[in-house]
């Protein structure tokens, strides 16, 4: 029976992982993500799964890549400092087409920063933290229910596109408690590992017409070779310029060729809006509150929040840039998502930033002041 429980964001994330079929967690403790590990340490054994506390974040992500290559859905959770350590192997997952889910619960500030405070400073790191061009999809939940829903979605995208998916909650979302509805089994779609029956000429990494490759699970009767080196369709290293170009381009076109799977945003009253408040995560909910408040007062203000922040919903933002005069981009960093909006709006609409980096949430009056400045 579907049930509704008061759950902390992190607990909802762990429940979402279990619902999606995650049966391996390898992680290292760090605030504000640790409740995900603690919850799964209790729940995974009963589900027949494995919880292992690894020696550091480098080992954590390595262990989940290993588990996933062996066919078991796997995840880890961390915060900014640990996420920095994970970047090395994040693109190993990307180039070996290995689905994994990584939660980065964002604390405030750079370096050790403010462990128990909130922030959104990892927006760019989530996309560009690993070296060179690599695909990654990033989801930003705004509350406990989305911690559940988007965790399930993260696993589905990881399995469908065979890549690392990052769930990027702010600390506030990790620790918020809200009523969470846990659906019945089968109610929400769960995508499991797909493996062809045969690989013609050992083309374990050959792409189909959607640009996707489905290398075989370890121990499934094939003899695949996984490597972080640039490789050909058979998985073996190559320095041939034609092969290498195909390797890098193919890898990075996966997301662009499947935008239908990775476009997810929420918007309100944007059609006739002069000013659009754009934000992500729980910061977006503050913007939603303000947009509603100003609408009631007769102002043409709308609200836009991507749930999938990478790839950024470029097509939709370009449309909105044609109709709106101004975007106010509100975020708990010094303007990371604003760069994306500016790039896409490209002179079509004015882009104004509202940024806060003191470890606390944006408050309603702070947003009101900024919007009043730009209202015609």
């Amino acid at each position: 029976m579907a049930q509704t429980l008061l759950l902390q964001g992190n607990e909802a994330c762990a429940e979402g992982a279990l619902y999606a079929g995650c049966r391996f967690y390898g992680g290292y403790p760090i605030t504000p993500s640790s409740e995900i590990a603690e919850y799964l340490a209790r729940k995974l054994p009963l589900a027949g799964g494995t919880f292992v506390q690894m020696e550091d974040e480098i080992a954590s992500i390595a262990s989940i890549i290993g588990a996933s290559m062996a066919g078991v859905k796997a995840m880890t959770a961390t915060s900014g400092p640990g996420f920095s350590l994970m970047q090395e192997n994040l693109d190993l997952a990307a180039v070996t087409e290995t689905p994994v889910v990584i939660v980065d619960a964002m604390r405030g500030g750079p370096s050790t920063g403010m462990p128990t405070a909130t922030g959104q400073g990892d927006y760019m790191q989530a996309r560009w933290g690993s070296h060179s061009d690599h695909p990654v999809v990033v989801l930003a939940p705004a509350g406990a229910q989305e911690m559940f829903d988007l965790t399930v979605k993260a696993f589905n995208i990881a399995e469908a596109l065979r890549l690392p998916v990052v769930l990027l909650p702010e600390a506030v979302v990790s620790h918020i408690r809200e009523a969470v509805r846990i659906p019945d089994p089968g109610e929400m779609e769960v995508i499991d590992r797909y493996q062809p029956d045969d690989y013609e000429g050992n083309g374990f990494f050959r792409r189909d017409e959607r640009g996707l490759a489905y290398p075989p699970v370890l121990g499934s009767g094939f003899h695949p070779h996984y490597t972080g080196l640039a490789h050909a369709e058979d998985g073996f290293p190559s320095n041939d310029p034609g092969v290498v170009r195909k390797f890098v381009e193919g890898l990075n076109q996966k997301v662009a060729k499947n935008l239908d799977l990775v476009t997810d945003f929420e918007e309100e009253a944007v059609e006739d809006a002069e000013v659009i408040l754009a934000s992500f995560g729980v910061t977006g909910r503050a913007c939603q509150h303000v947009a509603r408040l100003l609408r009631k007062q007769g102002h043409r203000v709308g609200y836009f929040r991507p749930r999938i922040v990478w790839p950024f919903p470029e097509a939709r933002v370009r449309e909105l840039a044609h109709t709106a005069d101004t975007f106010v981009v509100a975020e708990l960093n010094l303007g990371q998502m604003r760069l994306e909006v500016e790039r896409i709006a490209c002179g079509e609409a004015r882009v104004v930033g509202l940024h806060k980096v003191d470890g606390s949430m944006l408050e309603i009056h702070e947003i009101l002041v900024k919007v009043n400045e730009v209202l015609p």
């Binding site: 509704t4 008061l6 462990p115 128990t116 405070a117 509350g143 506030v172 620790h175 918020i176 408690r177 809200e178 009523a179 729980v282 909910r285 503050a286 939603q288 509150h289 509603r292 606390s360 949430m361 408050e363 309603i364």
Partner: protein
């Protein structure tokens, strides 16, 4: 409370280990049981015990967009630090409860009434532990505000506290309600 959405905001603040977070969770669960939309958030320092901690609960009849407290209808302060920081944020329609066992300088000239009771001392003498101060406060708040039914809160409380402290917690809650009744009688 906003008449339009029924948004009701609660801010509990004290020191780590005083049971502030648990009280927030109990109120949120009671809210769910009564079919409300709820959000509970907390802020805290690195310490598990001591340090400043804050727990906020929002109850609403409609979906809650902004999960932060804008203008709390009820503020409960269990330390001087909390009193100085949060008492004045109370909504003119609300009230403040201060545990004067710890809050020696009770804030004055607030936009709403403030009630100061020696809760920790009462808790220690009646129930053996100052820790019950927050549950007494909870009983007081529920009786005075009527924002949730006492039964919903006691059910949530019974579920959330350790078995061997259940009775004492329920008694402390009832005692808090009695205090509120005496107050309104005065």
């Amino acid at each position: 409370m906003s008449a339009l959405t029924g948004r009701y905001e609660i801010l509990l603040s004290g020191s780590g280990g005083q049971g502030i977070i648990l009280s927030g969770i109990v109120l949120a669960e009671a809210g769910i049981a009564e079919g409300r939309k709820v959000v509970q958030t907390a802020s805290y320092g690195p310490e598990s015990r001591g340090g400043a901690s804050r727990s906020q609960v929002i109850l609403s009849r409609e979906e809650i967009d902004y999960p932060g407290v804008i203008s709390p209808n009820f503020v409960f302060v269990l330390t001087q630090l909390a009193a100085d920081k949060y008492a004045h944020t109370v909504s003119p329609q609300g009230f403040v409860l201060a545990d004067s066992s710890w809050v020696e300088a009770v804030p004055q000239n607030l936009p709403a009434p403030i009630i100061a009771l020696r809760l920790s001392e009462e808790a220690a003498s009646r129930f053996g532990m100052a820790l019950f101060a927050n549950v007494i406060g909870l009983g007081f708040f529920i009786e005075r505000s009527g924002v949730l039914r006492a039964e919903s809160v006691t059910e949530a409380l019974a579920r959330r506290v350790p078995k061997h402290y259940r009775e004492a917690n329920l008694e402390a809650f009832t005692f808090g309600r009695e205090l509120a009744k005496q107050q309104s009688g005065q």
